[in-house]
């Protein structure tokens, strides 16, 4: 039963949306959209499980005074503060969780705007620096393919900025050609291959041939 039930559930969860794709019968479509809703509900409960895990792990870290335990205190404090203002705000305490009608921020909104968003922006901004160091390391003319890659990268990088057009109108034209023809062709090839691979994997999962994600071992 431990093996059969998850496999049966997987089969129905996979087969019903495929059936609904071809059969417009109202009730099939309804089951399919209901499954989508169930996924959101299950994910919500799984989030609770995740939060419990975070609290447990960090509490243990503080208890054992493992390496970096002060940061665990900061993490738990952050979780508690945002969680408290979020819960309270959902019951309209402190004016809710969004900006108040008069334009002032509720505590949750303030923490989101002036704490969370700048931190998120900082991490995203790191990409610029990492891209520079990765480009410096990667774009070396070691062989023929690498040389073609190097020239394509230089043309596109130069063509996407105004300086490129100032130097020659061919840079933006060449850039659009590279993006619109060989790059697009390569992307299409990878997308088609990946789609077939995904379809094959999905078929194996639906039919119960692929079971390793359930931790059930051999695919017999």
């Amino acid at each position: 039963m431990k093996r059969q039930i998850p496999l049966l559930l997987t089969f129905f969860a996979g087969a019903i949306p495929i059936f609904a794709f071809f059969v417009p019968e109202k009730h099939v479509g309804l089951v399919s959209t209901t499954l989508d809703s169930w996924l959101i509900i299950v994910a919500g409960f799984a989030l609770l499980l995740g939060v419990v895990n975070v609290v447990q792990m960090n509490a243990n870290k503080i208890k054992r005074q493992a390496q970096g335990w002060p940061y665990a205190i900061i993490l738990l404090a952050g979780l508690a503060i945002m969680g408290f203002f979020g819960f309270a705000g959902s019951f309209n305490v402190f004016g809710g969780i969004a900006t108040r009608p008069d334009g002032s921020s509720t505590p949750f909104d303030w923490l989101y705007k002036y704490g969370f968003l700048p931190l998120q922006g900082t991490m995203f901004a790191l990409l610029a620096f990492f891209m520079a160091s990765a480009s410096y390391r990667a774009f070396r003319a070691r062989n023929t393919e690498a040389t073609i890659l190097l020239f394509a990268a230089l043309i596109v990088m130069f063509g996407r900025i105004p300086f490129g057009e100032m130097v020659s109108k061919w840079f933006p034209l060449a850039t659009e050609w590279i993006m619109g023809k060989p790059s697009m062709a390569a992307q299409r090839g990878i997308m088609i291959g990946a789609a077939l691979g995904a379809a094959s994997m999905a078929l194996r999962v639906i039919l119960g041939i692929e079971r390793s994600y359930l931790g059930l071992g051999k695919g017999e």
């Binding site: 071809f22 243990n60 990765a134 990667a138 992307q187 291959g193 359930l214």
Partner: protein, 402 residues
């Protein structure tokens, strides 16, 4: 003589009157352009041409409640700037209400939200500026639900061909000789990567992507995680799996636990090996990159669905000198992995990994079936290019997906 003069006078008077009438008429016409004429005195605008052959029938391949109205456009409708309004009534000679507006060039309208089995009649009103003209009403039309979306028949055929190929080779795989699969360097390097971590006494970090288990890449990643966890149990290497998604976290924990059990080392499994970090993409990235910099794992596996954080993770791993094996089907992130990682599984190689690593004949058979379908698609693509070039649009129509 007297008669002639009389006649001449009469003629002159008539001629004068006629001239006066003509002059007054022309003044009136000119006056119309300079001042507003009262209503009823202007020359009426001609009525626009009427839409012809209005037919209404049940919309095909839907779940009911919809009728498609078609009509023939009058000649020159686009040049005229004609517009159409579709009108509906439940009686042929009853009151018609507007249900849709279209411009010239459109000659089909699908009316929705109807009751199945009830009769509906349609007219098409042609509108040109302020004037309009209605067509003859259509015959009665009834909507009903259909059991199959015929416009997706081509998708069903493709699905049938694909599934048949995969299932055929899966069935054959057990009886036939071992199926050849080409070398995938990234997967061959897994053993070496695990061994490296064991020798160095450092941990391995496995990042299963940032999407949930409803994403097929995550399932493929969990399959690979199972294999790596088994190796880790065998070699007694330290493995950590930080997760961004709670469902993936739950599935990953079960996968690793079962793998350790299967390897005969359940005692080595610790729950904190697989942990949940946070749902936010960049907070998760900050946590994992911080872990990489502090704990300096010997091996990083970045396998699954990634977005903007891919370069942050891969480049940090590269900076600390870890051996990195990555794999994703996200086309936009592949270049970052290729640049920063030692091995990258591209697209379908990720999905083939579980078959490749386990060498199960059944799984290898499915890869062969998938490859046969790809070959057929390549043939269709080539044929399509040739046919399109000579003006035969059959392939484009055959593969059109709705």
């Amino acid at each position: 003589m007297r008669n002639s003069v009389h006649l001449a006078k009469r003629f002159s008077v008539c001629w004068l009157c006629l001239t006066l009438v003509l002059m007054l008429s022309s003044a009136r016409v000119q006056g119309q352009t300079a001042q507003t004429e009262p209503a009823g005195n202007s020359i009426p605008e001609p009525a626009p041409p009427v839409a012809g052959a209005v037919t209404a029938s049940d919309t095909k391949s839907d779940e009911g409640g919809s009728i498609t109205v078609k009509w023939t456009e009058p000649a020159g409708s686009k040049e005229m700037g004609l517009e159409y309004e579709v009108l509906r009534s439940d009686k042929q000679d009853g009151a018609y209400v507007p249900v849709g507006e279209l411009s010239a060039g459109d000659s089909e309208y699908a009316d929705t939200g109807l009751t199945d089995g009830q009769a509906y009649y349609y007219k098409v009103r042609s509108i040109l500026g302020a004037v309009s003209a209605d067509s003859e009403p259509s015959q009665a039309a009834f909507s009903k639900g259909n059991f199959f979306r015929f416009y997706r028949l081509n998708a069903l055929v493709l699905l049938a061909v694909f599934s048949s190929a995969v299932l055929y080779y899966i069935t054959r795989a057990r009886k036939a000789k071992p199926i050849y699969i080409r070398k995938i360097a990234g997967l061959d390097a897994v053993d070496e990567a695990v061994g490296r971590a064991t020798e160095m006494g450092k941990k391995m970090l496995y990042i299963p992507g940032i999407m949930s288990v409803d994403e097929i890449q995550t399932i493929a990643s969990l399959a690979i995680l199972g294999h790596i966890a088994k190796l880790s149990a065998t070699y007694n290497a330290d493995l950590e799996v930080p997760n961004k998604d709670p469902l993936t976290f739950a599935a990953a924990r079960e996968t690793v636990k079962e793998a350790y059990l299967e390897a005969g080392r359940p005692d080595l499994f610790r729950e904190e090996m697989v942990n949940y970090v946070t749902y936010d993409q960049f907070a998760y990235t900050a946590s994992v990159t911080g872990k990489m910099v502090r704990e300096r794992p010997a091996t990083n596996f970045l396998i699954g669905s990634f977005y903007a954080e891919s370069l942050l993770l891969a480049e940090t791993g590269q900076a600390i000198g870890a051996i990195q094996i990555s794999g994703t089907a996200e086309v936009a992130q592949l270049p970052f992995f290729v640049v920063a990682c030692d091995y990258t599984l591209i697209g379908e190689e990720l999905y083939a990994a579980s078959a490749y690593l386990s060498r199960e004949p059944v799984l290898l058979g499915s890869i062969k079936g998938q490859d046969i379908t790809k070959f057929l698609l390549i043939v269709a693509l080539g044929l399509g290019v040739v046919l399109e070039s000579i003006g035969i649009k059959f392939m484009a129509t055959a593969f059109k997906m709705q």
